[in-house]
C-alpha cells in the first residue's frame, strides 16, 4: 500500500499526465465533471460526485466513425483511427466503477463487440475513490440497495481512500499493481494505515443509503406484470418533462444515435448520445411512432433498466448513484417509481 499527501495531488496528476492521458474530476461552473486534464493543478477531489458520469471516458458523447466527402460517384471515406495513449481514470466512485462492469456486458460481452468501447477500456487504468463515510448520506443515492459498498474496491485497478490529509492507494488488479509501482510521488503506507484501509472498506458495507435491498428478478417480474397498467404509468409520469437529463447523466444508459453531419461536402459520421425519453426516439420514416406519450417513454426507461436488462444480461442497469434524481429538473426519483411498482 502506498500513500501521498492530498497537497501533493497535483504532482501525482502531473506524473500521470507524463505517462499518458489523465481523466480526473475538475470543478466547473455547475459542479464537477470528469475531463481530460491539461493542467495538473485543476485536478480536484473535493467533490461528492460529478454531474455527468465517467462513462464518457469509454463512451464519449461524440465518437467519430468515418470522415467522408459527398461526391457524385465515389464517396471516399476514411474510418477514424482511435489512437489511444495509456489512459488513467482517476477518482471514480465505487458505484461508477461498477457501472463500467455492467456496461461491459452490453458493449463487449454479447454479440458483436463494440470496438470503440473495448479499445478505450483496454487502454485505461481505473483509480477508484471511496466515498467519505463521515459525510452525511446524500438523499438521492441508493447504491447499497444494489449491493455496492460505499468503499467498494471491486472493478478498480487501484483503489484510493482518504485518511485525514493523506490519500492511501492500494492495487487491486495486476494492472493496478504495475502502475502503482511506477507512480510518484508516493511513500509506503504504515501497517496502521493498511488496517485503516481494510476497516474502511468494511465500514463502507454498513454505510446505509435509502431503500432496502431487493432481488432484481422480483423487480423484473413485477414490472413485466404491470406493463399494461396505463393508469399506473400515467400517474407516475405526470410530472416528467420527457427531456433527456436523466439519460445523459446516468452511468448505465447507452442509447446512441448515428448521424452524418456534413458541411460543404465534407462530413463525419459519428455516434452521439441519444435518449429513449426523446419524443422522436422511435419515430419511423413512415411517420408512425410507437411511443408518442410521455408515459410510454418513461415506462420504456424504467422497464429497460430494471426489467429488460435483467432478462437479457442478468443484472439491473443501475448503480444507485442518484444522478438522475439529483439533476432531474422536476425532482423525479426514478427508483421510487420501481418501489411504487412493487406495491401495485
Amino acid at each position: 500500500m502506498k500513500k501521498t499527501a492530498i497537497d501533493q495531488l497535483h504532482e501525482l496528476a502531473a506524473h500521470l499526465m507524463e505517462k499518458g492521458t489523465l481523466i480526473a474530476p475538475i470543478k466547473e461552473d455547475a459542479g464537477f465533471n470528469f475531463r481530460e486534464i491539461s493542467d495538473a493543478k485543476n485536478v480536484d477531489l473535493t467533490f461528492h460526485n460529478t454531474i455527468i458520469s465517467p462513462k464518457s471516458a469509454f463512451f464519449p458523447q461524440m465518437e467519430d466513425f468515418v470522415r467522408y466527402q459527398t461526391g457524385k460517384n465515389v464517396p471516399e471515406a476514411m474510418p477514424v483511427e482511435l489512437n489511444l495513449q495509456p489512459t488513467f481514470l482517476f477518482g471514480v466512485r465505487p458505484c461508477d466503477v461498477k457501472s463500467f462492469q455492467i456496461m461491459d456486458i452490453h458493449f463487449s460481452g454479447t454479440g458483436a463487440a463494440d470496438p470503440y468501447w473495448r479499445k478505450r477500456r483496454e487502454a485505461t487504468t481505473i483509480l477508484g475513490y471511496a466515498f467519505d463515510l463521515d459525510a452525511p448520506v446524500q438523499a438521492e443515492e441508493f447504491y447499497r440497495t444494489l449491493g455496492i459498498g460505499a468503499a467498494d474496491p471491486e472493478g478498480s485497478d487501484i483503489f484510493m481512500i482518504r485518511k485525514g490529509e493523506d490519500l492511501l492507494l492500494k492495487s487491486i488488479t495486476p494492472r493496478g499493481e504495475k502502475l502503482l509501482a511506477q507512480m510518484s510521488p508516493l511513500t509506503e503506507a504504515s501497517a496502521d494505515e493498511e488496517k485503516y484501509f481494510e476497516d474502511y472498506i468494511i465500514r463502507g458495507r454498513d454505510f446505509k443509503t435509502r431503500f432496502t435491498c431487493v432481488d432484481d428478478k422480483t423487480v423484473a417480474k413485477k414490472l413485466e406484470n404491470i406493463f399494461h397498467n396505463s393508469d399506473f404509468w400515467t400517474k407516475v409520469s405526470s410530472a416528467c418533462l420527457s427531456c433527456g437529463v436523466c439519460t445523459f447523466v446516468c452511468p448505465n444508459c447507452y442509447c446512441f444515435d448515428i448521424c452524418d453531419e456534413t458541411l460543404f461536402g465534407r462530413g463525419t459520421r459519428r455516434r452521439v448520445w441519444d435518449a429513449c425519453m426523446f419524443t422522436d426516439f422511435t419515430l419511423e420514416a413512415s411517420g408512425h411512432n410507437p411511443r408518442t406519450q410521455v408515459f410510454q417513454r418513461l415506462r420504456q426507461k424504467v422497464n429497460h433498466k430494471y426489467s429488460y436488462h435483467v432478462r437479457k444480461y442478468g443484472v439491473i442497469s443501475c448503480v444507485g448513484c442518484g444522478r438522475c434524481t439529483r439533476h432531474c429538473p422536476v425532482n423525479i426519483d426514478i427508483y421510487s417509481i420501481v418501489e411504487a411498482a412493487l406495491k401495485v
Binding site: Q69, F256, F281
Partner: protein, 286 residues
C-alpha cells in the same frame, strides 16, 4: 475493414435497378461488392437484413431479397419511404442509377431458422411490400441443392392491385413449377388481371393448409397480420410454428444503440425473425 469494426460499411456498386411496381416507388437494387474479400465474407441466409449506408444521408435497414444461392451479388428491394417527410436514405437511393456506389453493413440479424424448417411443409404468406425476405427464402428452398430438404411448399402472396405485386416475373416462373404451390391474389384486380381476387386472410382460409408438420412464415402489413393469424390459429397451427419478421426503427443494427427493442429483445440482434411463441413473452406494445 468490415469485420473488425461493425460500424464501418463496405463499398458496393449498383449493378442493376428494377422498377417493381407501377407507382415507381419500390425498386430492387442489385449490388456487387467492390472488394472481393468483402464478398467472400458476406455469408447470409434468407431473413437477414443489412444496413444500406449513404454518407451524408444516413443508413437504412433493409431485408435481403436475394437468396444466398445466387452468387456474385446481393439484392434489396427498397421502398421510397415517408409520405409527409421523405426518408433521406431511400430517397437518395431511388435517385441513383447503375454504377452508383453506396455502403453496406451486414449481414445482420437472425435468418429464418432453416434447420427448423427442414423436413417440414412450409407455407409462406406475404402481403404487399413485406414479401422481400420471403422471396429470398423461397428461392433458397427451390434451389436444386436445397429443394429435397423441405417437403411441400405453398406460397400465398397478395398485393392491393396487380401493379403492386413484386417480382412479377419470378411469380410467373413459380406458377409454372410443380414443386411449389403458388397462390397469388390481389385485393382489387384490373381489366388485364385474370388471377384471383381476394384479401390474403380469406385466401389463406380457402387454401386451408394443414397444420401437421407445417411451419407458416407470415410477413405483411399490420392489418393483414391481424386478420391472417386467427385463420392460422383456427386451422390448428401452434404458435411455435408460426414465424414472422418484425420491424422497428434501427440505427446500429447490432444490438448496441438500444433503439429497436420490443420488451427485452432487440429486433436487430435478437430478431428480426421471431416465432409467435417468442412474441407472446414480449409486451404487446412497445
Amino acid at each position: 475493414m468490415s469485420n473488425i469494426n461493425p460500424y464501418i460499411p463496405m463499398p458496393v456498386e449498383i449493378s442493376r435497378v428494377i422498377d417493381e411496381v407501377d407507382t415507381h416507388d419500390i425498386k430492387t437494387f442489385r449490388f456487387t461488392f467492390l472488394n472481393k474479400e468483402d464478398e467472400a465474407n458476406f455469408k447470409y441466409l434468407p431473413g437477414q437484413f443489412a444496413e444500406l449506408s449513404i454518407y451524408g444521408k444516413g443508413e437504412s435497414p433493409i431485408g435481403i431479397a436475394s437468396s444466398p444461392t445466387e452468387p456474385g451479388y446481393v439484392e434489396f428491394t427498397v421502398q421510397r419511404a415517408g409520405t409527409i417527410v421523405p426518408g433521406l436514405v431511400t430517397a437518395a437511393l431511388h435517385d441513383m442509377n447503375e454504377g452508383g456506389k453506396i455502403g453496406l453493413r451486414g449481414p445482420l440479424g437472425h435468418s429464418w431458422p432453416i434447420e427448423f424448417l427442414e423436413k417440414k411443409n412450409i407455407v409462406v404468406v406475404g402481403g404487399g411490400f413485406a414479401f422481400t425476405t420471403l422471396r429470398s427464402l423461397i428461392n433458397y428452398m427451390l434451389h436444386k441443392d436445397n429443394r429435397k430438404r423441405f417437403d411441400e411448399i405453398t406460397v400465398i402472396y397478395g398485393a392491393r392491385t396487380p401493379g403492386l405485386l413484386l417480382y412479377k416475373d419470378e411469380l410467373a416462373e413459380w406458377e409454372k413449377r410443380d414443386d411449389i404451390k403458388t397462390v397469388i391474389t390481389v385485393d382489387k384486380g384490373d381489366e388485364t388481371w385474370k388471377g384471383r381476387q381476394g384479401f390474403v386472410p380469406a385466401v389463406c382460409k380457402e387454401v386451408a393448409p394443414s397444420p401437421y408438420n407445417t411451419v407458416a412464415v407470415i410477413c405483411g402489413p399490420p392489418v393483414m397480420i391481424k386478420f391472417t393469424l386467427p385463420v392460422f390459429f383456427e386451422l390448428g397451427f401452434y404458435k411455435e410454428n408460426i414465424l414472422t419478421s418484425l420491424e422497428m426503427r434501427m440505427k446500429c443494427g447490432i444490438g448496441k444503440c438500444g433503439r429497436c427493442n420490443v420488451g427485452y429483445k432487440y429486433v436487430c440482434s435478437d430478431g428480426p425473425v421471431f416465432s409467435l411463441a417468442e412474441l407472446d413473452e414480449l409486451p404487446r406494445e412497445f
